[in-house]
C-alpha cells in the first residue's frame, strides 16, 4: 500500500513550499520502508491513502484507518535515544496490533495535547509509560466495545488480538471495520492493563523504524531545513564569554558576494546575556566568509584574566568552607576518632557536548507570528522562548521539530532559536543560524567542572564515617546573589550505602563560565569521586572492592542483584589473569541501577581498557536492543570524558577549537563491551545514560588495581601511567 503524507499549515501560507515538496518526496521513500521522515510539526497531519479509507483518531496518539492501517504518534523528539520506537511499542502492546505493521509519525509539538515533550534526563519512558499504556488500552477497549455493541454481546466475551476483535463464538471484526464506531465512544478512564507476563511487544529487541532513513540520507535534521526566501547566518561571538560588543566594522564583510546584512544579536544563557554579530547571506559559505572579514572590538571586562588554573585555585580555596549540608546521617564529627582516616580530592574539567550536528535553528518571524524548524530536545520551551522574546502569544508560534544529530542536554537549551528569531526579526526574512564546530566548542555551555573533597574513616573493615563535599557551579543558579548550594550539586552521590555517619555538602561556585545539562549531568563528576573514594576506602579496609560495596548494600536488593550479576559475568572471584587490572563501580541514574567492571592491560607500555562489562537494571525494559545501544554509547562518551580530554580555559577563553585538539574516542580505541540487562517487573526507568558515569571510576579503579597509581584528576593521561 502506498500512502502520501501531507501537512496542513497552521499559519496561513507559511508552509514552506520547497520543504513541503521535499517532505512529500522523502515520505514516499520512507513509507516504502514503513517509516516517516522524522519531522514533527504544527498543524494536523493528515494522510491521503490512494487505496481509499478514512482515518479516525481514538486519541492523540492513535489513528486507525477504515482499511486497517494503524498510525501511532510519537510525541518525543528523537536524538538517538530510541524513544521513536519505544513509545509506539508501548502503545502497540496495549492496543493489540502487529507491531511490524504499525506506522510511526512524529506528533505535533503541542503541550496541550501531549504534555511536556522535552527529552531530558532519560525521562520519556520513565514518565510516559503509564500514560501510554492507558492510551493504548483505552483505544483497545473502545474497539472491543464497538464490536460488542455491533454484535449485541457483552464486551467481556470479546478479546482483541493483532488488529482484530474476536468474539468467543469465533466471529471477528478488524480494527478498520470497527474504528468509526469506536471513535464515537467515550474513552474509558481506567481501562484494564495487561500483566507484564503477557507482554508480546515490550521486552522484544524490535528493529528501530528510524534506522533505514538513517542509512540512505533521508532522515531530516535541523541543519537540512530549507524554507523559501531563507537566509543563512553565521555569528561571531566573543571568545571570552560575556564579552560585550563595543563596536564593529562590517565594511569588508558586506563586500563579500552573497552577504545581505550584518546585525548585532544576542541570546540568553542561563541568565547571562551573550552578544554577537551576525553576518547574513544567501548561502552559508558566504555568511562564513563575511564573518571572517568582520572587525569587532569586544569589552571583556577583565574576564580575560581567568583560566582553568585561576578557577581551580578559587575552588581549592573555597573547599575550606564548611558548605551547605545536602544530605546527612549520624554524626560526622567522629572523623579523626577511631580508625584510619582517608582523605582525597578529585578534579574534573569542563566538557563540551559536541553533538555531531552543530547547533542550528531556522526561524521565520513575520507579522506577529513566528515559526521554528530544527532539532530540539525542548519544542515546548522554544515556543515559550519565542513568544516571550517577541511579545506574542504562544499560539502564534509554530514549532517543527526534526531528528536531532545528538542532543546530550545541549539541545534542551533554547538560545540558538532565540538568536535565529532575533536575526529574522531584524532582517525580515526566515533565517537559518548555523554554528561552526568552533562556535560549539568555544561558546559552551559546558558540563560543569568540579572539585570533590572526600574524607572518611574505616575501622574493623567497615566505613564508619564518610564526608563528600562538592565544589562546583550549579546549573539552576548561575546568576544573582544567592550563594547557597542546592541539591542539584549532589547528583550521583550514592547515599544508599549503609554508612553510620555521613554528610554530603556543597560549596557553590558562581562565575562567568557557562554550564548546562550534559548527559548524566553531575553524576559524571560526583560518581568519579564517590566511587573512586569507595575504592580507596575498600583498599584501606583491606577488602575486595565489590564485596565491600555488597556489604554496605545488604538491604538494597537491586544494587545487590546488579553487583552479584556483575561478579558472575566477569568471573570476579576466579583468579585474575596476569597483567590485568579490574575496577568496579555502581550508581543509580534516572532510576536505573548500573554496575560496571572495566579491565585494563598494558600493551606496548601503555595502559588501555580491554573489556567493559555492564549490568543494568532499568526495570521493565521496553526494547533491550535500544538499552544495549544506549549503554554502549554511554560507555564511549564516558571513555572520551575520562581520558581523551577536557575543556581548558586560557586567557578567559576555551583553548581548544575543533576535533583536532578536543579529541573523541575513535572506532579503533573502542574496547569490546558486554551489556547484561536484569529482568524484573519493576516500573521502567531511564536508560539513556546507563553507565556513562560508571566509566571514570571503573577505569581509574582498574588503573589502580593494575599499577597502584590512584587517579584523582581527569582527564586521565593513559599514556603517562607508569
Amino acid at each position: 500500500m502506498k500512502t502520501i503524507t501531507t501537512k496542513s499549515a497552521p499559519l496561513g501560507d507559511s508552509l514552506p513550499r520547497r520543504e513541503f515538496l521535499r517532505l512529500t518526496a522523502v515520505s514516499g521513500a520512507f513509507l516504502a520502508v514503513g517509516c516517516s521522515p522524522g519531522m514533527g510539526g504544527e498543524g494536523k497531519v493528515t494522510t491521503i491513502d490512494p487505496a481509499g479509507g478514512t482515518d479516525f483518531s481514538l486519541n492523540q496518539f492513535i489513528v486507525i484507518n477504515t482499511n486497517g492501517r494503524v498510525l501511532l504518534y510519537n510525541h518525543r523528539p528523537e536524538m538517538g535515544q530510541g524513544t521513536y520506537q519505544a513509545i509506539p511499542m508501548i502503545l502497540a502492546e496495549e492496543l493489540e496490533v502487529d507491531v511490524e505493521k504499525i506506522e510511526i509519525l512524529p506528533s505535533a509539538a503541542d503541550e496541550k495535547r501531549y504534555g511536556s515533550q522535552m527529552v531530558v534526563g532519560s525521562r520519556s519512558i520513565q514518565t510516559e509509560y503509564a500514560n501510554l499504556r492507558n492510551m493504548g488500552a483505552a483505544a483497545r477497549e473502545m474497539l472491543k466495545q464497538a464490536a460488542a455493541n455491533g454484535w449485541q454481546v457483552e464486551v467481556s466475551e470479546c478479546k482483541a488480538s493483532l488488529g482484530e476483535v474476536i468474539h468467543t463464538s469465533g466471529k471477528k471484526l478488524t480494527y478498520g471495520e470497527l474504528v468509526e464506531e469506536a471513535s464515537k465512544l467515550t474513552p474509558p478512564e481506567n481501562p484494564p492493563l495487561k500483566a507484564p507476563g503477557d507482554f508480546k511487544v515490550i521486552g522484544q529487541p524490535i528493529a528501530r523504524r528510524d534506522v533505514p532513513a538513517k542509512t540512505n540520507g533521508a532522515a531530516i535534521y535541523g541543519l537540512d531545513i530549507q524554507v523559501p526566501g531563507m537566509l543563512y547566518a553565521s555569528v561571531e561571538r566573543s571568545p571570552v564569554f560575556l564579552g560585550r560588543v563595543v563596536s564593529f566594522n562590517d565594511e569588508k564583510a558586506k563586500a563579500v558576494p552573497g552577504v545581505k546584512a550584518v546585525v548585532k544579536t544576542q541570546r540568553n544563557v542561563w541568565g547571562h546575556t551573550r552578544e554577537g554579530v551576525a553576518v547574513v547571506a544567501d548561502n552559508y559559505w558566504a555568511a562564513n566568509q563575511g564573518r571572517k572579514a568582520l572587525e569587532i572590538k569586544w569589552d571583556t571586562g577583565g574576564l580575560e584574566k581567568n583560566s582553568s588554573a585561576t578557577i581551580l585555585k578559587k575552588y581549592k580555596a573555597d573547599a575550606a568552607k564548611e558548605g551547605v549540608s545536602l544530605a546527612e546521617g549520624g554524626n560526622v564529627s567522629t572523623v579523626g576518632g577511631e580508625g584510619k582516616v582517608i582523605e582525597a580530592a578529585y578534579e574534573t574539567p569542563y566538557q563540551s557536548h559536541v553533538c555531531m550536528e552543530p547547533m542550528n535553528a531556522t526561524v521565520s518571524v513575520k507579522e506577529g507570528k513566528a515559526e521554528f524548524w530544527g532539532s530540539t530536545q525542548n519544542p515546548n520551551g522554544i515556543r515559550s522562548q519565542l513568544a516571550r522574546q517577541l511579545s506574542i502569544e504562544p499560539d502564534n508560534v509554530a514549532i517543527n521539530y526534526t531528528f536531532m544529530g545528538g542532543g546530550f542536554g545541549r539541545r534542551s537549551m533554547t538560545d540558538v532559536a532565540e538568536e535565529a528569531a532575533d536575526i529574522s526579526l531584524q532582517v525580515g526574512a526566515p533565517v537559518k543560524v548555523v554554528w561552526t564546530r568552533e562556535d560549539d566548542l568555544t561558546q559552551g555551555p559546558f558540563r560543569a567542572a568540579s572539585l570533590n573533597i572526600c574524607r572518611g574513616t574505616v575501622a574493623g573493615g567497615k566505613v564508619v564515617t564518610l564526608e563528600h563535599k562538592v565544589v562546583a557551579q550549579e546549573i539552576q543558579n548561575q546568576t544573582g546573589d544567592k550563594m547557597e548550594a542546592g541539591r542539584q550539586l549532589m547528583g550521583g552521590i550514592n547515599t544508599e550505602y549503609e554508612i553510620p555517619n555521613y554528610r554530603v555538602s556543597g560549596v557553590l561556585q558562581k562565575h562567568y563560565v557557562p554550564i548546562t545539562y550534559w548527559r548524566a549531568v553531575y553524576h559524571t563528576t560526583n560518581c568519579f569521586a564517590h566511587e573512586s573514594f569507595i575504592d580507596e576506602l575498600a583498599r584501606a579496609a583491606g577488602k575486595d572492592p565489590l564485596d565491600f560495596r555488597l556489604d554496605m548494600l545488604k538491604n538494597h536488593l537491586r544494587y545487590t542483584k546488579v553487583l552479584q550479576t556483575l561478579a558472575e559475568k566477569t568471573n570476579w572471584y576466579a583468579p585474575k589473569e596476569e597483567g590485568v587490572g579490574r575496577g568496579v563501580s555502581i550508581l543509580e541514574r534516572s532510576g536505573a541501577f548500573t554496575g560496571m567492571v572495566i579491565e585494563v592491560k598494558k600493551e606496548n607500555g601503555k595502559v588501555k581498557p580491554v573489556k567493559i562489562t555492564t549490568v543494568v537494571d532499568v526495570g521493565i525494559c521496553i526494547n533491550p536492543d535500544t538499552v544495549r545501544a544506549q549503554t554502549e554509547g554511554s560507555i564511549v562518551m564516558g571513555l572520551t570524558a575520562t581520558y581523551k580530554g577536557g575543556i581548558r580555559l586560557e586567557n578567559g577563553a576555551v583553548a581548544q577549537s575543533n576535533f583536532h585538539d578536543y579529541n573523541m574516542l575513535t572506532f579503533e580505541e573502542c574496547p569490546p563491551c558486554e551489556t547484561y540487562i536484569i529482568q524484573n517487573e519493576e516500573k521502567p526507568e531511564g536508560a539513556g545514560e546507563s553507565g556513562l558515569a560508571n566509566v571514570a571510576p571503573s577505569l581509574c579503579n582498574a588503573v589502580f588495581d593494575l599499577t597502584g597509581v590512584r587517579v584523582r584528576k581527569l582527564p586521565l593521561d593513559l599514556g603517562a601511567i607508569g
Binding site: V33, T215, C355, M356, F408, G633, T666
Partner: protein, 155 residues
C-alpha cells in the same frame, strides 16, 4: 562567482557559486542533497565523506572547483533501494542512534569494501577510525563492517 556543473549521483547540477566554496556546501545548499553532513569543516570528523570517482573524499575541505568534471557519489546515490551491502549490514546490526554521522561512516565503509573486499583488521581500522561518532556506535559499526563484507562476498 562562477557557473559550473557538478555531476552528482549520475545527474548534472548546474550552479552559480564561488569556486573556492567547499563541495559540502554545494552538495547541501545548492544541489539540495542533505544526506551529506557538516560536522567540523576541517576534515577531522568524516561526516561529510562522499566519493569522487570512487575515492572517499572529505567534501568539507574540497573546493567545488576540484570536483567539476568528476563523478560524485553521495549517500543518496550509493544504492537505489537502500540495499548496498553496507546499508543492509547497518540496518541488520541496528547501527545508527542519532544517525547524523552515519552517511560518512557508510560511505567510508563502502569505499573500504570496494578497495579491499576482504579487509584486514588494520585496513578496517585505517578506514573507519577517522570517522567520529559521538553517540558511540563503534561496537555496532565493527559488527556491521564484518557483516557487510559477508553480504558483499555472497552477492
Amino acid at each position: 562567482m562562477a557557473s559550473l556543473t557538478l555531476r552528482i549521483n549520475n545527474r548534472d547540477y548546474p550552479m552559480e557559486v564561488d569556486p573556492q566554496m567547499p563541495l559540502l556546501w554545494a552538495i547541501r545548499d545548492f544541489a539540495l542533497l542533505t544526506g551529506t553532513k557538516f560536522g567540523c569543516g576541517i576534515s577531522q570528523c568524516g561526516a561529510c565523506t562522499v566519493h569522487i570517482d570512487g575515492e572517499p573524499v572529505r567534501s568539507c575541505v574540497t573546493p567545488v572547483s576540484g570536483a567539476t568534471g568528476k563523478s560524485i557519489t553521495t549517500i543518496e546515490g550509493l544504492s537505489a533501494d537502500n540495499d548496498h551491502p553496507v546499508q543492509q549490514a547497518w540496518q541488520e546490526e541496528q547501527v545508527p542512534q542519532c544517525g547524523y554521522c552515519q552517511s560518512g561512516q557508510i560511505m567510508t565503509a563502502a569505499a573500504l569494501l570496494s578497495k579491499h573486499p576482504k579487509p584486514s583488521e588494520e585496513q578496517i581500522n585505517a578506514y573507519m577510525s577517522p570517522i567520529i561518532c559521538r553517540c558511540g556506535t563503534y561496537v555496532r559499526i565493527k559488527r556491521a563492517v564484518d557483516k557487510a563484507v559477508e553480504i558483499n562476498q555472497k552477492a
